[in-house]
Symmetry: C2
Subunit: 345 residues, 2 copies
């Protein structure tokens, strides 16, 4: 579908104005704001044609036009200018992220809250997924006489810990057994190897030590389970409350975000696609009913050259694509760099 230059200009102006104000745009205001060399009547003709093509729609006969989903799509694909982040903004983002360096989860949390602040949208991120990930390191950190913390690091950089309590005192002997078991059975293997069934057979083989060791091993399995699945981190859902398009059904959307692992499916599906460019889903292009009045933008971050996880934004269809897409793109880029640096060694 090829449009005349003038139609393109008008469509872009309508989309941008509607994004900015949330009010339907009429022919008169449009002519004024663009100070075009034609009259409002001409613009009306053009707008009527854009409507016929399905790029604009009218809430009611005597209202101005608003972009249809197709209109947004055309705008995003062909018309939109890309907002350039200022060096200042870039520096700020990097500085904020740097405070979390070394901790994958924290980097992603920080990225999420940065995104949600910058965009007034909800931000989503997934922790790196890597089916080939293996347990790189396990540590047993004594905390008290009967309390210890188990720390696990995977080759994909995921770090998880958990506190556990034992029945009796934790002895040097126990710690030794623990490390022996871990080294012999788990280091270099996928976290899935540490399944509760495996732990049970191990416990049996320990004989009389078994009673003391069980809480440690159970906690170990627990930590392993935590590292195993990619996690979905959410930030800034409350931003959505401030949009009038969500008045009334904000609760529904926020509950959807809060519970849904379905959202994770979209993301991990995309992460595996190997694409690397921000993907935009507008309105009904979303598979889920709860998102059909919303748009999503998401993009994969790369760890050491490999698509690993996703950062995303969720907001009203009327979101500022021209600004948000470059912001997200830049952030995924530096998140990728930071995480590569973290995981690398």
């Amino acid at each position: 579908m090829e449009l005349s230059e003038r139609k393109k200009k008008l469509l872009a102006a309508i989309v941008e104005r509607y994004i900015a104000t949330g009010e339907p745009v009429g022919s008169k205001t449009l002519v004024e704001s663009l100070d075009m060399a034609v009259s409002s009547a001409t613009v009306r003709n053009e707008m009527a044609e854009l409507s016929n093509m399905g790029l604009l729609e009218q809430p009611h006969t005597s209202a101005g036009r608003i972009p249809s989903e197709l209109g947004y799509r055309y705008y995003v694909d062909r018309l939109m200018g890309q907002y350039e982040l200022s060096p200042n903004e870039k520096r700020l983002m990097e500085a904020k992220l740097a405070t979390s360096a070394g901790d994958v989860q924290k980097v992603l949390e920080t990225a999420g809250s940065l995104l949600s602040e910058m965009t007034r949208c909800a931000a989503v991120s997934t922790t790196p997924a890597d089916e080939a990930a293996v347990v790189r390191r396990v540590e047993l950190v004594p905390i008290g006489t009967r309390t210890a913390m188990i720390v696990m690091l995977t080759s994909s950089g995921i770090l998880k810990s958990r506190v556990c309590k034992t029945f009796g005192e934790i002895t040097v002997d126990m710690a030794e057994s623990f490390y022996n078991i871990v080294n012999a059975n788990f280091i270099g293997k996928p976290a899935a190897a540490m399944h509760i069934a495996k732990i049970q057979t191990l416990a049996v083989s320990l004989g009389e030590k078994s009673l003391d060791m069980t809480p440690l091993l159970v906690a170990l399995a627990d930590v392993a389970a935590m590292t195993e699945h990619t996690e979905l981190l959410l930030e800034g859902q409350s931003n959505l409350l401030s949009y009038k398009e969500y008045a009334g059904n904000a609760f529904e959307l926020i509950e959807f975000l809060r519970h849904s692992e379905l959202l994770g499916q979209i993301f991990s599906g995309y992460a595996n696609s190997g694409k690397h460019a921000p993907q935009v889903l507008i309105g009904q292009e979303n598979r889920f009913r709860e998102l059909q009045n919303s748009s999503m933008i998401f993009d994969n971050y790369e760890i050491a050259g490999r698509e690993s996880g996703t950062l995303g934004l969720i907001g009203p269809t009327r979101m500022d694509y021209a600004r948000l897409i470059p912001s997200l793109r830049y952030l995924t880029e530096i998140v990728g760099k930071m995480l590569s640096d973290t995981v690398e060694e």
Copy 2:
């Protein structure tokens, strides 16, 4: 203010019915639902008197009555029956909490999400405050060649960790220096001793080792700062969205909860008061404008016989006090027990 038995019965019925339905209660429905031996005219007379006393109010002339804040207060102080938690509910709460045993923060998070689920209110909790708390233990856990995790435990049971990256490899020598510094300067002292200024003078005294050690020491100061202040944990804010009394201004309230350390003041003020019984603040009894259409219930939990922190609920004035107060009371009790057990050793 002493009321006749009949007035009490009526007031309680009005409060409870209004809590249940959210609709003003009229004389006719009231007589029916109570199947009283008097007519609606008599009830009207009584209701008029209750209005005069300021215990009831009318949204408008031809509507039924709703409780005034004074009415709720009277109900809470004198009329309310206490709902008994079933053994089943108790068992469920305990079982859920038990999964977090050993980790103060996690226990409180779990308690918060339990509370918010049970009550459809927002739940707040504060981590234990203890001016006499000292650093009990610090561990340096190697994670990679240039990455380490610093773990700190205080005598009040707060456990915090942070990952940090160093410039060069972490050597056994460095670890030794680290532990020497920690043992000599910090163990047994308040976390505040680990201030960044102190860290700096230490770094200077290290001479040439200083460059390598600095990131570790900075991270140490950082972890110390984390343990130092009581934290405010929030759960279930999104529950509030489902109440019609918040339609429209839910955003304001949720933003208030999200940002406000002011809320912490109320809590810590109460925590220091030494009281131990659920405290109820109804509507305007709250100091903050954002909470004046809401009620709060909060109660201190005791660690080893000492008031240490607070659990609280925030919801619409029209909340089910008779059910929520006992629930909160019971939860603070078992949280206290669990935390005492955690901190004790």
